[in-house]
Symmetry: C2
Subunit: 343 residues, 2 copies
């Protein structure tokens, strides 16, 4: 059932039916009732493609996933982000479309998106420290919001981010306060902006307490369990091993925990572990020692917030730059303890 046949069935013009359906004021209440009722009965649904062709809008939000950066997708919080975002988007009638492209072509795809009017806006994931996609999208004029920030970009752009620097500063400070002096940092890929900010937080806390940092303790790689395991094994076996681990991801922390266990050490008393992007909120009232972490649900919130903002942005592109920061939560767990006395 399409508009034409619906109109015929009603003995009205397509124009009138369309107007009735889309809530235009210049249609009589009586006709509107009739039309609505008939649409219901014939279970008429407008063809979104045709609608898009005619209006120039698509009700689609794009996310481009660069092929080589497995990074984001294998990240377990990615699902949480998507859940939050698509939730919020659907409330405004938007769907989310994923396109996977070789990352060399990424700029081309945005141009196409814009040219072919295939999406109304774009979500940018995993910004690099100086991300070239931002000036590109600004130039093209395609509405977009960055999940995260890009420190090296000077022009204005919209973003929603978790305060990664602060999270890591507080977590580090917390460990320092517990007496830890050798804290390993298992960070994400070096060129990623969030990794940069996390490292900043880590460094800031050390600087504040005038504690020297050791490059041997700071690592940057893709966040896999293998990575966490391999590094923890090697660090724990070194002559001056860390007493605490600060992990940027739950997945890497899994490997770290495993390595600690394999080394016959106890988590908490012997080695402390603090994890970002985990979901420990259930421990809030349960356990003995505080742990700092950005929970998975905060990622979900970020997704919702970002989506909401993007919709606004599309409606009114003249709005002032949207820049929203979420603070991570502090929860209580058992894998952290005072620094053990060294023999």
């Amino acid at each position: 059932m399409n508009l034409k046949s619906l109109a015929e069935a009603l003995g009205l013009s397509q124009t009138t039916v369309s107007r009735a359906l889309n809530g235009y004021p210049e249609v009589s209440e009586a006709t509107r009732q009739r039309v609505m009722e008939a649409a219901q009965r014939y279970s008429y649904t407008p063809n979104s493609r045709a609608k898009g062709l005619a209006t120039g809008r698509t009700m689609m939000i794009g996310q481009v996933i660069p092929t080589t950066l497995k990074h984001e997708m294998v990240n377990p919080v990615f699902g949480d982000f998507v859940a939050g975002a698509s939730q919020a988007l659907s409330e405004h009638g938007y769907d989310m479309v994923f396109t996977r492209v070789p990352d060399i072509d990424e700029s081309r795809i945005y141009r196409e998106f814009n040219a072919r009017r295939v999406v109304d806006g774009v979500i940018l994931q995993g910004p690099a420290i100086s991300d070239t996609r931002i000036p590109l999208l600004n130039e093209i004029g395609l509405p977009f919001i960055v999940h995260g920030r890009s420190s090296g970009v000077s022009e204005p752009y919209n973003w929603v981010d978790v305060n990664n620097r602060r999270s890591f500063e507080r977590a580090t400070q917390f460990l320092i306060d517990l007496g830890h002096r050798r804290i390993a940092l298992l960070n994400g890929l070096d060129h990623m902006d969030f990794a940069f900010r996390r490292r900043q937080g880590y460094l800031d806390a050390h600087a504040d307490s005038a504690i020297p940092t050791d490059p041997a303790l700071m690592h940057s790689e893709e966040m896999t369990e293998e990575y966490g395991h391999r590094l923890a094994v090697s660090l724990l076996a070194s002559e001056d091993p860390p007493t605490a681990f600060l992990c940027a991801s739950m997945i890497a922390a899994l490997g770290v925990r495993r390595a600690i266990q394999e080394a016959g050490l106890r988590m908490g008393p012997d080695v402390s572990v603090i994890t970002h992007d985990d979901d420990l909120s259930y421990l809030k009232n349960g356990s003995d020692m505080p742990i700092f972490t950005a929970t998975r649900s905060s990622v979900r919130q970020a997704g919702e917030l970002l989506a909401e903002s993007l919709v606004q942005l599309i409606k009114d592109p003249s709005v002032v730059p949207i820049q929203k920061m979420l603070e991570a939560e502090l929860v209580v767990g058992s894998s952290t303890g005072p620094a053990p006395k060294r023999t």
Copy 2:
């Protein structure tokens, strides 16, 4: 730049240009060259919406996410699945679109998908034991593949699944061989088909060895860390505690591991833990004791395989039902050990 202006610029008709671009044979090689070259120069890209309107194809694959079933999205392997699927889809020019709907409306959305021709095919996630969406989609005639199976459905349908029953049977058998007699099963939601199959495997292994099962050890809930933690705490404190845990998800296993640690027990020697949907392949050559698990990368593979199959199905709907089973991997780790002697 659209077809019309490109044609004008070339002094040709839209028809000819379209034909040249789409590789129709009846166009001279000379004109084709000219057209191709011009398209390149003006960086012309066809408007997919218009193309879709004219052809009836959309190059989009749909995934409907029921709103209340947070289940799938918070599942950390969801990202892996999507990564695999979108990878394969993009190679055939398809994009993936997510729609989030109140789960009551789910059937309606499929009808709409079909009516509005908004997607060429659909991926069905998280089938229930007797999933009503399958007959619905069959009736509508919208091409689809199920990720998983639905035991209660008798009519034929296409699916790609990991052999969950076998995984859990082998894992359970493995524990039994190690001397474990009280094995806790932390399963997913009861009405889900994969949970049903996993339980089957667990039961089969017990039956084969004539070991009685205890309802107190078998649990079904949504897979959260909190769930794993809460249950492990309570089970470990019971008068006849399990010596091993079999977890359906990495996330729940996290909570279990934490509880074990909090109880002052060692994973491996005191309590064994086997986890499904984890990524332990890096341990293959590393450690001491074998562990059975369906790795995250196998989920990714499932995504690829499923997407590939769906594309085929769309091209040729008359193909025999696609029914592909993936076997999980066996890898080596350290969180499993012989059953401890009870005092």
